[in-house]
C-alpha cells in the first residue's frame, strides 16, 4: 500500500468536497451557471477518482450497481413525472406555471425538480459507464504499480 500514497491521501481528502461541490453546482443552477448535468458529472467524478486510485469494486459496498440502475431510472421518472404533473394540474406538458399557486414559484419548483432528475440520472449513468469499462480490465497486482 506504499505506491501512490500522496495521490491516495489527496483523493480521500478531496472525495467529500467534490460531492459537496456537486451539490453546490446543482443548486447554483437556479441563480447562474450550473445545473443538473454538470452537477451529475462532478458527483460521478468523485467515484471515478476513487475507482482510479483504489479498487474499482470497493465502492460497490455503499453504491451497489442495482442502486445505480434504480437511480438512473428514478431521475428520468422525476423529469418526465414533473411534465406529467403539469398536465394533471391543467397545463401543457412541462408547463411549470401550473405547479404552484403563482406562476413564478411554479417555474422555480419545476426547474428544481427537473434539474434534480437530470443530476441523479447523469451521476448514476456516468458511474455505471465507468464501471462497465473498468470491470473489463484485469486488476493490477501490488508489485505492478
Amino acid at each position: 500500500m506504499q505506491h501512490h500514497l500522496v495521490l491516495r491521501v489527496i483523493a480521500k481528502l478531496l472525495f467529500a468536497p467534490i460531492l459537496l461541490f456537486a451539490f453546490y453546482v446543482q443548486f447554483h443552477g437556479d441563480f447562474g451557471p450550473g445545473g443538473g448535468f454538470q452537477a451529475g458529472l462532478i458527483f460521478a467524478s468523485a467515484f471515478v477518482l476513487h475507482g482510479l486510485l483504489f479498487d474499482v469494486s470497493s465502492a460497490r459496498q455503499f453504491l451497489p450497481d442495482r442502486l445505480l440502475q434504480v437511480g438512473a431510472a428514478v431521475g428520468v421518472l422525476l423529469y418526465a413525472g414533473t411534465g406529467l404533473a403539469s398536465v394533471l394540474l391543467g397545463g401543457n406538458f412541462l408547463d411549470y406555471d401550473h405547479l404552484a399557486e403563482a406562476p413564478t414559484s411554479g417555474q422555480h419548483l419545476g426547474i428544481i425538480l427537473v434539474e434534480a432528475g437530470v443530476g441523479i440520472t447523469v451521476a448514476c449513468v456516468v458511474v455505471m459507464v465507468f464501471r462497465a469499462f473498468a470491470d473489463h480490465l484485469p486488476c493490477l497486482r501490488e508489485q505492478d504499480w
Binding site: Q69, V70, A72, A73, V74, V76, L77, A80, G81, G83, L84, V87, G90, G91, N92, F93, L94, D95, Y96, D97
Partner: protein, 498 residues
C-alpha cells in the same frame, strides 16, 4: 368512436401523451425485478399508445391539424408537436406494430434473451418506441433529431442483445453508421438554423424561400438527405441493415422491419415536400437510387441462404419502391408511397413473425434447415405464403392495392411505360426469391428425416398473432378503400398542407 368518449381536456393533451407515456414507462421497466411483469407492463403501455394513436387519427380526420405547444411556449419559439394526416398514420403504424410485436414474442424473448436482462430489454424497447413516435409527432427539426437519437441508441442496445455473437458486430456497425447519419442530419439542421433563425418545421418552410443564404440551405438539404438516407437504408447507405435484421432478437427484427426505416422515410418526405418544397430535385436525385435499390437488392436477396437475410435484402428493395413513389412527387404517387409503407409493414411484419416461430422451433434461420418444414408447421408456412403473396403484390392481398396505386401513379404522372415495366419486373424478382423460400419450405426433403420429424408447430400465442397479421393482409386486399383513403389524406397533408 374513441374521440366521443374522451373528455375534451384529455383530448388536447393526446399528442404529448402519445410520446410521454412510453417515455415514462421505460424507466419504470428498469424497476421491475421479473421479466414477466415488465412484459405485461410494456404490452399494456403499447396498447395504450395504440388507442391514443387511433384517437389522434380520428381527431385529425374530423378536424384537421393539431398543434401542441410544449411547456406552454407558443410555436415557433417553443417546441411544437404537430399532428396532421401524414404523421397520424405513421403514429398508428408504429404503436400498433409495437403492440403486435410484443404480443407475439413472449416465447421467443424468453429463449433468446437471458432472464436477468429482460427488464432492461423492455426498457430499451419502450425507448425505441418513444423515439420513433417522437420523430413522427414533433414539428420541430431539432426535436426530431433528439428522438431519432433516442430510437437509434435504444436500437443499438436491442440489436446487441441477439443470441449470436455476431449481433455485437452488427450492432457496432449500425452504431458507427447510424451516428454518422445522425451527425450529418444535425449539422444540416444547424445550418438551417443559421440561415433562417428557426427550428420549427412550418416556420422553416415559410422562411427558407426568403433567406439570403441560398448556398447554406443547399448544403443543409444535402446533409439532411444523407443523414436520413442512412437511417432509412436508402440504397448505397443500406449496408448496416442486413446484419441487423439477421442477428437481432426476433421481436426486434419484426418491430424494426415494420417501423424504423419507414419513420425515417416519413421525415425525409416531410423535409423534401414541406420544408424545402423542392420536389423536382428529389425526383432527379432519388429516382435512380430507388431504381438501383429495387433491382440490386432483389438480386442480392436471391443469392442469400438465410431466410432473415433474404427478407432483409427484400426490405431494402421495398424501401426502393417507397422512395421511387416519393420521387415521382405527385399527390397520387405520395399516396402510393404511404400505401406501400403500410402494406409493406403488414407483409414484412407477418413474414418476420412466421420466421420467428419457425426459427424458434428449428433453432436456425438457414434455408437449408427448413427443408419440408411445412409438414410439421403448416400454419406458420401458410402465414409465409400469404405474406409473400402480399409482398409480391398478387391481387386480393394488401400489397396489390399498393402496387396498383403505384402503377396508376406512374401512368398519370409520367406516362412512362419503361418505369411501369421496371416496377412489374422487380415484382417478378420478388416472386423469384419468395418462390425459392416457399419451394424449400413446402417441397424440400430434409437431409436427415429424423432431424425435423419431431418438430412441433410454433407456440400458440406466436401463431395466433402471425395469423392475425396474415388475415389483415388479405382483409385489406379485399377492402382497400380504408388504406387508400388514409394514404390519400396523408399525401394531401404533405403536398397541400391540409
Amino acid at each position: 368512436m374513441f374521440v366521443a368518449i374522451l373528455p375534451a381536456a384529455l383530448l388536447t393533451q393526446l399528442p404529448i401523451l402519445q410520446v410521454a407515456i412510453p417515455l415514462l414507462a421505460a424507466p419504470v421497466c428498469v424497476l421491475f425485478r421479473r421479466g414477466r411483469w415488465a412484459h405485461d407492463f410494456s404490452l399494456l403501455v403499447t396498447a395504450i399508445a395504440s388507442i391514443i394513436s387511433v384517437a389522434l387519427l380520428q381527431f385529425v380526420f374530423n378536424g384537421g391539424v393539431i398543434s401542441y405547444a410544449l411547456g406552454g411556449f407558443a410555436p415557433p419559439w417553443g417546441i411544437e408537436y404537430r399532428i396532421d394526416s401524414a404523421n397520424a398514420v405513421i403514429l398508428l403504424l408504429v404503436s400498433v406494430s409495437g403492440f403486435l410485436a410484443l404480443l407475439q414474442s413472449r416465447a421467443s424473448i424468453e429463449t433468446e434473451i437471458p432472464e436477468q436482462k429482460h427488464p432492461l430489454f423492455y426498457t430499451a424497447f419502450l425507448l425505441c418506441l418513444t423515439g420513433l413516435l417522437g420523430v413522427a409527432a414533433t414539428g420541430d427539426a431539432f426535436n426530431a433529431f433528439v428522438f431519432l437519437e433516442i430510437s437509434s441508441l435504444a436500437t443499438y442496445a436491442l440489436v446487441a442483445m441477439g443470441k449470436s455473437p455476431r449481433a455485437l458486430t452488427a450492432a457496432f456497425r449500425y452504431l458507427i453508421l447510424g451516428t454518422i447519419g445522425a451527425s450529418t442530419f444535425v449539422i444540416g439542421v444547424g445550418l438551417l438554423y443559421m440561415a433562417t433563425g428557426t427550428l420549427n418545421m412550418s416556420d422553416l418552410a415559410t422562411r427558407i424561400p426568403a433567406s439570403p443564404h441560398h448556398a447554406v440551405i443547399q448544403a443543409a438539404f444535402a446533409l439532411i438527405i444523407v443523414g436520413l438516407g442512412l437511417k432509412a437504408a436508402i440504397f448505397p447507405l443500406h449496408l448496416w441493415l442486413p446484419n441487423v435484421y439477421t442477428f437481432a432478437p426476433a421481436v426486434v427484427t419484426t418491430f424494426l422491419a415494420a417501423t424504423a426505416t419507414k419513420v425515417a422515410l416519413y421525415l425525409l418526405a416531410r423535409f423534401v415536400f414541406v420544408i424545402f418544397e423542392d420536389a423536382s430535385f428529389a425526383g432527379t436525385l432519388l429516382m435512380p437510387l430507388a431504381l438501383l435499390a429495387m433491382f440490386l437488392a432483389s438480386l442480392a436477396a436471391l443469392q442469400q441462404g438465410n431466410v432473415k437475410r433474404i427478407l432483409a435484402y427484400s426490405s431494402i428493395a421495398q424501401i426502393g419502391y417507397m422512395l421511387f413513389a416519393l420521387a415521382l412527387a405527385s399527390t397520387q404517387a405520395v399516396a402510393a408511397a404511404w400505401l406501400l409503407i403500410l402494406t409493406h409493414a403488414l407483409a414484412k411484419g407477418g413474414l418476420f413473425m412466421a420466421v420467428a416461430g419457425i426459427a424458434l422451433q428449428t433453432g436456425s434461420s438457414n434455408l437449408d434447415d427448413w427443408k419440408g418444414i411445412a409438414k410439421q408447421m403448416p400454419w406458420s408456412a401458410a402465414v409465409m405464403v400469404v405474406c409473400f403473396l402480399s409482398l409480391v403484390g398478387v391481387p386480393l392481398t394488401a400489397g396489390f392495392v399498393a402496387k396498383w396505386s403505384l402503377l396508376s401513379a406512374i401512368f398519370s404522372t409520367s406516362e412512362s411505360i419503361i418505369l411501369a415495366a421496371v416496377v412489374a419486373g422487380v415484382s417478378l424478382l420478388t416472386l423469384l426469391y419468395a418462390g425459392k423460400v416457399l419451394e424449400t419450405v413446402y417441397l424440400g426433403t430434409p437431409d436427415e428425416q429424423n432431424a425435423t420429424a419431431n418438430l412441433r408447430e410454433a407456440p400458440l400465442a406466436m401463431l395466433l398473432v402471425a395469423l392475425l397479421v396474415a388475415a389483415m393482409n388479405i382483409y385489406f386486399g379485399f377492402n382497400g378503400t380504408m388504406l387508400s383513403d388514409l394514404s390519400k389524406r396523408a399525401a394531401l397533408a404533405l403536398l397541400s398542407g391540409f
